[in-house]
Assembly symmetry: C2
Homo-oligomer: 353 residues x 2
């Protein structure tokens, strides 16, 4: 064994991939100071092009990636993005996560999940502790916790970046991705009115969710444009759950005359409407048309497969992540990327007679 200086032994470990390169290695191998490497990492404009190229080449050669912990310690913040949610639907949550990951890909950020309970008395301090402990770069909030002003106020105080996903602009544009729930409701109303329905029922989500109101108001707009209206007695409040949809629809279907079509605020409740119809001895779509909202898997698993409104949750997630990390361009201005669409299956038909 010939004696070796620490440096050359270090380099051997580096070459063989035994040891990950640090900013010091890149600086030494590029013949510059680590501060200059730091400038390249952070895309500072004040680096000579030749210097930058030389450093980039060394970075590429050794597959160098800066350590997020060390960077975070110096920056006094982490490279973590939190998803704060209280939406109980698993498919919504997973689609949102996938969308956020789409938008974060290659950015060096990671996604940390944080379900919460809006009913908790410690909601705001709990979220605050999460953010401060991890020094989160930013958070994305989804309905209904995204609609909470107490949480938003705390977020502004802490200086944590945030984006709220909601069906209405409840904050300034840079903090918002607005979903098109009203538009989706309008599509449902339009379609049912076009089919000739005039006695229409609506099973709403809970009043505490802004989307419940947006979907309803859109529905009424769509009906009105085609000469139909939503009678107040044909509105039943649900809770975005299967059971609540079943109960609400049972009430509507017990009325005389009963509605010939029901728009449910989401697919879960629409599945409940199907069960209520079956219990009332009604065939769908012959005796009753049903439209849901979301186009989650359940929509095509029930019988008959549900006509529903597809909400582009994954795309919305991508936009939210891109807005948060600042990589979102003019696309946000183009509503097509957030558009809802009508998916016609077998639960809708013209009214009988």
């Amino acid at each position: 064994m010939s004696p070796r200086t620490p440096r050359s032994s270090d380099d051997a470990a580096l070459e063989s991939g035994q040891r990950r390169a640090t900013i010091n290695d890149i600086a030494r191998l590029s013949g510059v100071s680590k501060k200059t490497v730091s400038r390249v990492i952070n895309r500072s404009p004040s680096v000579r092009p030749e210097t930058r190229e030389k450093i980039d080449a060394v970075i590429a050669k050794y597959g160098y990636a800066p350590d997020p912990q060390a960077r975070g310690l110096a920056f006094r913040r982490s490279f973590l993005i939190g998803l704060i949610y209280d939406n109980p639907n698993p498919q919504y949550v997973v689609n949102m996560q996938l969308g956020l990951l789409d938008g974060m890909r290659g950015s060096g950020y990671e996604l940390v999940v944080h379900p919460c309970d809006r009913g908790s008395t410690t909601l705001v301090p709990d979220i605050r502790a999460f953010i401060e402990r991890q020094k989160l770069f930013g958070v994305v909030l989804t309905p209904s916790v995204s609609e909470d002003e107490g949480v938003a106020e705390m977020l502004r105080e802490t200086g944590c970046e945030y984006v709220r996903v909601a069906s209405l602009a409840v904050d300034t544009a840079e903090h918002m991705i607005v979903t098109m729930d009203r538009h989706g409701g309008m599509l449902a109303g339009k379609r049912l009115a076009e089919l000739g329905h005039r006695r229409l029922g609506f099973v709403s989500g809970p009043a505490t969710f802004r989307s419940s109101h947006e979907r309803r108001e859109g529905f009424e707009e769509g009906l009105k444009a085609h000469g139909a209206i939503l009678a107040p007695e044909f509105v039943a409040e649900g809770a975005y759950t299967f059971e609540s949809g079943l109960a609400a629809a049972s009430r509507l279907l017990a009325m005389t005359p009963r509605p010939t079509a029901i728009f449910a605020g989401n697919d879960e409740m629409a599945a409940g409407v199907l069960h209520a119809a079956r219990k009332a001895g009604l065939s769908v779509p012959e005796d009753l048309s049903v439209i849901g909202f979301d186009d989650f898997q359940i929509a095509s698993r029930v019988w008959p497969p549900l006509t529903t409104i597809r909400a582009p949750t994954r795309e919305v997630g991508r936009l939210a992540a891109e807005r948060l990390i600042g990589s979102l361009g003019d696309e946000a201005l183009d509503p097509r990327s957030r558009q809802t669409t009508l998916v016609e299956r077998e639960s809708t038909a013209p009214p009988k007679g």
Copy 2:
């Protein structure tokens, strides 16, 4: 304004909660060195009880929590736990996440999600890059990526802690949480045989998922114990998806004689079996009994509501997290915490005639 030393101005910020306490503050305010505070944080036994109490009191007073980034930098690893999954079912993913969070609560670790594609040619290097970049403390893997030996081999090389959730012990006990898929299959077989069925069909998951085989073998065991058997021609391979369940069941139901009961490898495929039955003009459960597996939401949304096997995914997630961070006691030895159970709804009945 009287002149103040930096120290007292620091303290003012601390008292008012403007500034978070650091290990230096706690050391100074406790009259010890920061190394001793570090010992308390890390539960080193070699601290005098009185010293420990004094420091604990100061920590509590200022609500001190060590900075995970600084700690991570010094430890050369982070306090992040990765969930690496390729299971396509949203409810599985969300239940698993909730379970992991249950097991991690109060531990100071955070959950980072990382979906992956087992079919990707860069699967192993992708996961490796994720682990090394973030210096993850550990990862939890769920089926089917948890069954991948290439991934497990890489994990051992990196020295990253890991726990594999799978339906069979594919690793040593400290790296495993074994789910009781075989037992669940047995419950399904037992129940259908008890009801008197003798021509039984099975719609399997994909051969690449270990659970497909466990559920089938358990099913056969359950049948055999009650004098029934699974004929090879009544086995159709699916892919754990609704469409594959529909197609597989259509084949089984076209046979003469056809099965009087079908056990599907999961609820999604069982929903497909219900659609196939409807298209074949068969009533469930009068003409055909159906049992699913999972007891996800879909099981109670379809018509008729599905008899199924409940798998305690959230509990399994909690056990996996506790095993990973070392807080799991003897509970893992008690299969009751992972037990599957039969949930009887309306899709099962004795065979006609």
